[in-house]
Symmetry: C2
Subunit: 340 residues, 2 copies
């Protein structure tokens, strides 16, 4: 089964992915902070059945995974692929996930909220991501009763999610806005519109590989469609700025631009040791080169997929063993020499 | 005609070249500082005839060039190829050179001394270089009378050359002694043995590409053979140290060693702009890689030859026009992408 992030033409787009996350809680269970282990298990069972007992084509695409039984490396790889959140890696109490086979939809059970439904589509496809999440949400609601207030909307563990329970986001590759430092002022101005900008791995994470997530901060007092529309509008402007600055730079600093890209390509193709941080930077340059038609190379996977594959968890999964930092630097270099 | 520096296997040797330089003056002319323009021309004619009127195989291999008529770029290229000295580039008064067709022997006329006979051989071949210089010296002496004192030996413009008038030198590639900083103590200790260490382009020049010239400082009170023998002994020790430190590093830091070499290779193969200084550094790494069997690449020329070809004068000669600094950086990158 091809995963959403394996799409071949992804490198040609500024938008890497579109994501919808819905926070839901079941009426008859206490919120996560207060729930007993017993009740947690019951809750997991109930939602699992809501999906798996439906004999629909959709429900058959989901696989159930108990997260507590997985190794640290496996969970890290799932985090790197944006299937689970960082919160679930070290969680001792019962938690689980229902994951669609192309990894485009995952339902996390007993995360901060009882349910986190997330739906990701490659590229600029937020409407499709919303439809997919909405469909799953409806499917589950046929069997369970959500905690819902007619004034506030969906009730959530953290009040910042109350209302729609929706977080809509785009993952963008913004190398030139980053290199020119303009990303900072964009990031600051987003908050005025109830939006926020984060790094590749969400809240508090460093912007690796010039990848930024833009998402809504406000979930209350607006409909899902309104939230998604204003996110789309702001994102369109950011994409336009990235494209325009790239064209300008490519036009007026052609050789410096090409030199930067080709050097990064040459290092990735030849290095024997490389840290994750450096590799992300060089991969970002190569992606910029492909996207701007400077580099006519065909990596064995799209650059975003390669970026996920060089992360610690995925790398160890690929090698089938635990690796220390310098072993990872070696394996990462070997992998990059081969795929770039 | 293949030039001495075009030898294919040169990269496998620590010694790039062996050089002999003899300083000679003609008895019947004033030394260079005091000579008139008229006398300078007579002197040139006399030595030219001494070589060219001999109907021997040897004399037919020499081409006569009036340096005053050459362009700045052409003279710079000759300097870069170690045919002429920096002194001759801007000299206004008559000066000329007789150059053997493989560029292994050149006779400079009206440099600091009336005659500078220099003989270069690729690799560790100082005896051959000495024989070649000695042969030319004898050939000239059949027609002219040298300024010679039975106590002091050959008289020269600068007393540091008086006696044998000999400077014997090896051009060595010492990347690991440089990287580890050991080159400094070696350089300092050489003076105790009457030897000196210089950069690629002689006195006062920066050590580009980890290339060092080791030569005798003392010309008086020792025979030519004694000077050459002690230079050989010291050089053998330096070569041994370079080899030993390379082996050690290759053994105990295998991946760091390979990573450094392959990254440099990758940049040279892909850059679109490169300064001479950076290129020399990266070429030095690639030469180290070839010499230590880490890099199995076959550049279109040996690395030392490439190092000469990327210098400003040679680069402009190759392009057939004057280039400014950034144009040279572009042409240099294109050339390196192609030959490495």
């Amino acid at each position: 089964m091809t995963k959403w992030y394996e799409e071949k033409d992804l490198d040609k787009q500024t938008v890497i992915s579109s994501r919808i996350r819905l926070a839901r809680n079941l009426k008859k269970y206490p919120f996560s902070a207060a729930i007993s282990e017993e009740k947690s298990k019951q809750l997991i069972e109930e939602v699992k059945n809501a999906i798996k007992n439906e004999r629909t084509f959709l429900s058959e695409m989901f696989e159930y995974t108990e997260l507590n039984n997985l190794s640290y490396e496996d969970k890290t790889a799932m985090l790197e692929n944006h299937i689970i959140s960082a919160d679930l890696i070290n969680k001792k109490s019962p938690c689980a996930a229902l994951i669609q086979n192309d990894e485009s939809v995952s339902i996390l059970l007993n995360e901060e909220d009882h349910l986190r439904i997330q739906s990701i589509c490659a590229g600029y496809n937020i409407d499709k991501a919303w439809q997919n999440a909405d469909k799953i949400d409806d499917l589950i609601e046929e069997s369970v009763e959500y905690a819902f207030d007619k004034n506030y909307g969906y009730l959530t563990a953290c009040p910042t999610n109350t209302g729609t329970g929706l977080r809509a986001s785009f993952m963008l590759h913004l190398p030139m806005l980053e290199k020119t430092g303009r990303i900072r002022s964009i990031s600051q101005s987003l908050s005025k519109f109830g939006m926020t900008m984060r790094g590749l791995y969400g809240e508090g994470s460093e912007p690796l590989g010039s990848i930024y997530q833009i998402s809504n901060q406000i979930t209350l007092g607006k409909s899902e469609e309104e939230i998604i529309d204003s996110l789309k509008n702001l994102t369109a402007q950011i994409i336009e700025q990235e494209k325009s600055i790239t064209e300008q730079y490519k036009k007026y600093h052609k050789l410096e631009f090409e030199d930067m890209i080709f050097r990064s390509y040459g290092i990735l193709k030849n290095c024997k040791l490389i840290s994750s941080k450096e590799a992300m930077q060089l991969l970002s340059d190569v992606r910029l080169g492909i996207n701007s038609d400077v580099l006519k190379t065909s990596p064995k996977a799209n650059i975003y997929n390669i970026m996920m594959n060089i992360q610690s968890g995925n790398l160890q999964k690929r090698c089938g063993k635990t690796l220390n930092e310098s072993e990872r630097d070696i394996q990462r270099a070997q992998y990059l020499n081969d795929v770039i």
